[in-house]
Every structure is written in structure tokens, then in C-alpha cells.
């Protein structure tokens, strides 16, 4: 596979370097490989966006970066170098420092990802206090500040609310606040704006880009919204069936896609104002071309 990663300007050591990452699940007597030996790099201050087919392994890739793949899944191979250290072999305390502190993570399904019996406030405050020694009230102030920054009205109410009392979009923003509140060096955002209306989406993206500009935060941005990709990404990775089938800087990928799948994907994007009879979909033929084992995708024992 051609390494289309542009040699972005800057130091030689990237912030994140993923090598040969493989994730698999036991299945039937064997295994089902859902992330298949992928590798990529993220430089400080860079926004890398992963797009791709639903179920192609984007979320698992994101989880792997923080060694968060749950049983019975396992990261069966590869390395995740963060600042030169392999996250997958870090000791527990070091790992805890990385998680939440140096790397913030926004989960795809905010409703399930927040503890139902704790208030939003408590979940924010404990995150801050886990990484910085600040007083409870300082943490409270900062939490309120963050809720405001993610565009939540009435942050005081939100602080005291339980997850089930908030709307999907509000939770998503709360989740974003949790991820950002410790000024991470890397933000892993798994579909962070799906539940937001476009005005707030724009605001969140602004926020992320501002942080990137101010602090040099790097971002791994997973999304289906090609509009958002076009807007934020420096580098785009296209995944299909556990593999990265195309990578390149955002202009190249959008304008001269190499892989037929990428091409089809771009063509399928709905355009504002275009009222089609049917929305375009990607043909089976193209899918087969993207698939790992065109004939028998699936279990390998």
C-alpha cells in the first residue's frame, strides 16, 4: 500500500505513531479481525480524520489508542506510540496519566458513556481533580466554564443534572467538555457532533480548532460527515473492513481520490439544495474492491 502520508512540516517524531495495530474478537472457534494491522501518525497540532464505512473499525481504532478495548476483544498486535512511549505496554499509573490527561476521548454514544447515577458536574469535576490538584470549587468553576465553551445554556442546571435528564446533543457536549477539560495534547473524537445542530456543530468545531491553534492539540477526528471532514481535517484516512484503504491530505483525498471506494463515498455525499429522487449508494462491486478478502470477508480461523 502506498504511503500517501504527506511529510508534514515539523519535527521528525510525531505525537502519535500507530504501527501495525490489530484488534480481534473471538468468534466461533477462531477470531474475527476487525482492525487489521493499520498504521498512521498524528503530528502535534494536526487534525487527522478517519472516515469510512459503518462498522469498518474506526471506533475500535480509537479505543485501541488508549488501550480501552474491552474483553473479549483484544489488541493482538501492534504498537501505539504516544510521545515515544508505547501506550499498550505502559504501567498502570502512567497509563492513567495519559488517559484523560494527555489524551482526551469523546465516545460515540454519549448516553451510554456517562455514569447514570452521577451528575454531570461530578463527572467533570472528578476528571479535573484526577489530573490536577485543584480544589473542588476551582474544579467546579472550571467545569462550568467548559460547559459554557461547548455551548451549553444554563451550565449550572447541567452541572446538577443526571445524564437521563439531558437531550442527546446536550450529553454529547457534556462528553466533549469531559474530554477537553484537562487540556489534552491529543483529542480522540469519535463522531463528536452527530447529535448537534449545525450551528452548535460549527461552534464545537471552532472550539476544537481554536484549541488546536492555541495549544497545539492534535486531533483524531472520526466522522461520517464529509462536510466536517473537509472543514477540519489536515489528513484523511479512509477505512474499510478494518483496513486503511486510502490516506492523504484533505485536498488530495477530496479532489483526487485514489481508491474507487473513496471516490464513490465522495460522490455519495448529499449536497445542499440537490433534491435527488434517490440518494446515491455505493455499489457492491466497489465494496468488493475495498474488501480485504474479496471472496470471503469474515471469519479467519
Amino acid at each position: 500500500m502506498p504511503s500517501a502520508l504527506p511529510a508534514a512540516s515539523g519535527p521528525s517524531q510525531p505525537l502519535v505513531r500507530v504501527e501495525d495495530l490489530t484488534v480481534r474478537f473471538p468468534s466461533g472457534g477462531g477470531h474475527r479481525v476487525v482492525v487489521d494491522g493499520i498504521g498512521f501518525e498524528i503530528e502535534a497540532g494536526q487534525v487527522v480524520s478517519i472516515v469510512g464505512e459503518s462498522g469498518s473499525g474506526k471506533s475500535l481504532t480509537a479505543l485501541s489508542l488508549l488501550k480501552l478495548v474491552d474483553e473479549p476483544g483484544e489488541i493482538s498486535g501492534g504498537r501505539v506510540l504516544f510521545d515515544g512511549n508505547d501506550v499498550l505496554t505502559l504501567r498502570r499509573t502512567a497509563l492513567q496519566r495519559v488517559r484523560g490527561g494527555e489524551v482526551g476521548m469523546i465516545f460515540q454514544e454519549p448516553m451510554r458513556s456517562l455514569n447514570p447515577v452521577f451528575t454531570i458536574g461530578r463527572q467533570l469535576i472528578e476528571t479535573i481533580r484526577a489530573h490536577e490538584s485543584v480544589s473542588r470549587s476551582q474544579a467546579y468553576e472550571r467545569s462550568v466554564e467548559w460547559l459554557k465553551r461547548v455551548g451549553l445554556p444554563d451550565p449550572d442546571r447541567i452541572m446538577g443534572s443526571y445524564p437521563h435528564e439531558l437531550s442527546g446533543g446536550m450529553l454529547q457536549r457534556a462528553m466533549i467538555a469531559v474530554a477537553l477539560c484537562c487540556d489534552p495534547k491529543l483529542l480522540i473524537a469519535d463522531e463528536p457532533t452527530t447529535a448537534l445542530d449545525v450551528t452548535i456543530q460549527a461552534q464545537i468545531i471552532d472550539l476544537i480548532l481554536d484549541l488546536r491553534d492555541e495549544t497545539g492539540m492534535a486531533v483524531l477526528f472520526i466522522t461520517h460527515d464529509l462536510g466536517v471532514v473537509a472543514e477540519v481535517a489536515d489528513v484523511v484516512l479512509v477505512m474499510y473492513d478494518g483496513q486503511i484503504i486510502e490516506r492523504g491530505d484533505v485536498f488530495t483525498v477530496f479532489e483526487r481520490p485514489q481508491h474507487p471506494y473513496t471516490d464513490a463515498l465522495l460522490r455519495a455525499r448529499p449536497m445542499p439544495g440537490a433534491r435527488l429522487d434517490r440518494l446515491p449508494i455505493i455499489s457492491d462491486e466497489v465494496r468488493r474492491m475495498a474488501s480485504r478478502r474479496p471472496e470471503s470477508a469474515g471469519v479467519d480461523a
Binding site: P26, P72, H164, S296, G298, V299
Partner: protein, 298 residues
């Protein structure tokens, strides 16, 4: 391409779970042990030369010999034989009373927790009422009534165990209801409602599997306590009537320091039998829980 054909076998969670269960070594060992205990109790006596009733005071409290593998008791009766006969009663009582109270408790608990409101209030206040009635006087009255009705002493234990399960459901029901109270608020329960599923299906196909883990714990614990509490009933004449034996009253017959220290064969065998049964049920329950939990699938 669909890998499982259209005509693929339709496997319920139950069937599939059982299939996986017997493939776990610990679980199959437990099942084996339970089967062994059943055979031991129900078939064993047919193979052994004693009836367990022969009194022979000359060999009373005798240490195990070739003739009496587990020694003899205070009347010179063969402990092994009595252990087998006792097993019939104890296993029946333990397992039957566990099932009965489990079913009652689960159904009432789920119904109360699910519907809430009046249904909940009625069931739960009834539970409070039942839990407030002191056990011992109730048993004494029961004993008097049963003997008034001329129910034969041998069958009283079964009547009593049924009655005890019937009045013993409140604690389990309350436990289950507590869980249901939060589970019923889960969006998937609302989904079940929007899908127009019947209340019974929502309660027993959707909620029940989610309270399964709790039920399994309760089942394990109540089998053991069922077997042991039978011996506590004995002194009111509600238990197994002597000279018949049960594990519980074999254990508690050795209730003094001397028997405890010097005649270990009187209480160790029934203790071990009970332990094996309880342990097997427990391990089985544990694995069953794992198997029933899709997230534990390996």
C-alpha cells in the same frame, strides 16, 4: 454473503446458553456432581445392604470400618445408608423449595416493580405484612394445625416447605423489585413498550433475563438454607420425622462438643454432602450467569 443460511437453526438464548454451559469444564463437573448426589441418594440405598434402621447399640458411635464405611451413629445405624436416605429428603426439599420460592418471588417482584402504583403497593405491603409475622409462632401454629388435621408426620415436611415458600417470597420479591425499579426505566424497556409487546413478554422476556444474575445467587443461597432450615423445623415436629434422617438433622444431631470432637463421622459426611451440593449448585449458577450474559461470550 450471509454465512448462516436462511434456514439456520433458530437457537434461543436458553438453548444456546445450555450448549455453551456444558462445554465449560467447571460447569460440567458441577452437573456431574449433582447427578452423582442424586444417584447416591436415590439409587445408592438399593445397592447397599442396610436399611439404615437397624439398631445395634453394641456398635453405637463406631468409627468407620469395612462393614460400615462411614461408621455408625448413636444407635449403631449405618451412617452411609442414612446419609443416602437423608439425601432423598434433603435434595428434594432443598431444590423444590428453592424453585418454588424463586418462582413466586421472581414473578411477584417483577410484576410489582414493573407496574408500580397500586399493584406495587398491594404486593409490597403484603410482603411487609408477611415479613412482619414472626416465624416461630407461625410454625408452632402450623404444627398444631397439621397435627389436628391428622396429616401424617412424614408428609408434614413437604406441606411445611410449600407453605414456607409461599410465605417466604417477600424478601426475594423485594430484591427483584428493587432491581426492576431501575431496569424498567431503561430505554430498551420503553422500546419494548413502543413495539407493542404484551406486558407479560416485557416482564418475562425482557426484564427477567436482566435479573437473572440476582436470581441465580438467590437460588444458590436458598438451596443451602432450605436444606439446613429443615433441621431447624425438626424440633417443632415439622421437619423430617425420626427415625428418618435428613442431612440437616444428621448434622445437628451432633450438637455437642463431644460428638463434635470425637465422633467426626457423624457430622462430617452430611456436612460434606451438603457442601458438595451447595458448591455444585453455586458453581453451576456462576457459570450459568456467565453464559446468560452475552457480554461474557468468549
Amino acid at each position: 454473503m450471509p454465512r448462516l443460511g436462511r434456514r439456520g437453526r433458530r437457537r434461543s438464548l436458553w438453548a444456546e446458553s445450555f450448549g455453551r454451559l456444558i462445554r465449560i469444564p467447571a460447569a460440567s463437573v458441577s452437573i456431574g456432581l449433582l447427578v452423582f448426589m442424586l444417584l447416591f441418594s436415590f439409587v445408592g440405598p438399593l445397592l447397599i445392604g442396610y436399611t439404615g434402621d437397624e439398631i445395634n447399640l453394641r456398635i453405637a458411635n463406631h468409627i468407620p470400618t469395612m462393614d460400615h464405611w462411614l461408621g455408625t451413629d448413636a444407635y449403631g445405624r449405618d451412617v452411609l445408608t442414612r446419609l443416602m436416605f437423608a439425601g432423598r429428603i434433603s435434595l428434594t426439599i432443598g431444590i423444590a423449595s428453592m424453585l418454588l420460592s424463586l418462582i413466586l418471588g421472581a414473578v411477584l417482584g417483577i410484576v410489582a416493580g414493573y407496574y408500580g402504583g397500586l399493584v406495587d403497593a398491594v404486593i409490597m405491603r403484603a410482603a411487609d405484612l408477611l415479613m412482619s409475622i414472626p416465624g416461630l409462632p407461625l410454625l408452632i401454629v402450623m404444627a398444631a394445625v397439621l397435627s389436628e388435621l391428622k396429616v401424617r408426620p412424614e408428609s408434614r415436611i413437604y406441606v411445611v416447605m410449600i407453605l414456607l415458600s409461599v410465605i417466604g417470597w417477600p424478601s426475594l420479591a423485594r430484591l427483584i423489585r428493587g432491581q426492576v425499579l431501575s431496569l424498567r426505566e431503561a430505554p430498551y424497556m420503553r422500546a419494548a413498550e413502543v413495539l407493542g409487546l404484551s406486558a407479560a413478554s416485557r416482564q418475562f422476556r425482557h426484564l427477567l433475563p436482566n435479573v437473572m444474575p440476582l436470581l441465580i445467587v438467590v437460588a444458590t443461597l436458598s438451596t443451602a438454607s432450605g436444606i439446613l432450615s429443615e433441621s431447624a423445623l425438626s424440633f417443632l415436629g415439622l421437619g423430617v420425622v425420626p427415625p428418618n434422617a435428613s442431612w440437616g438433622n444428621m448434622i445437628s444431631a451432633a450438637n455437642n462438643l463431644i460428638d463434635f470432637q470425637q465422633h467426626w463421622w457423624l457430622w462430617v459426611p452430611p456436612g460434606v454432602a451438603l457442601l458438595i451440593t451447595v458448591a455444585a449448585i453455586n458453581v453451576l449458577g456462576d457459570r450459568l450467569r456467565d453464559v446468560f450474559d452475552p457480554r461474557m461470550r468468549k
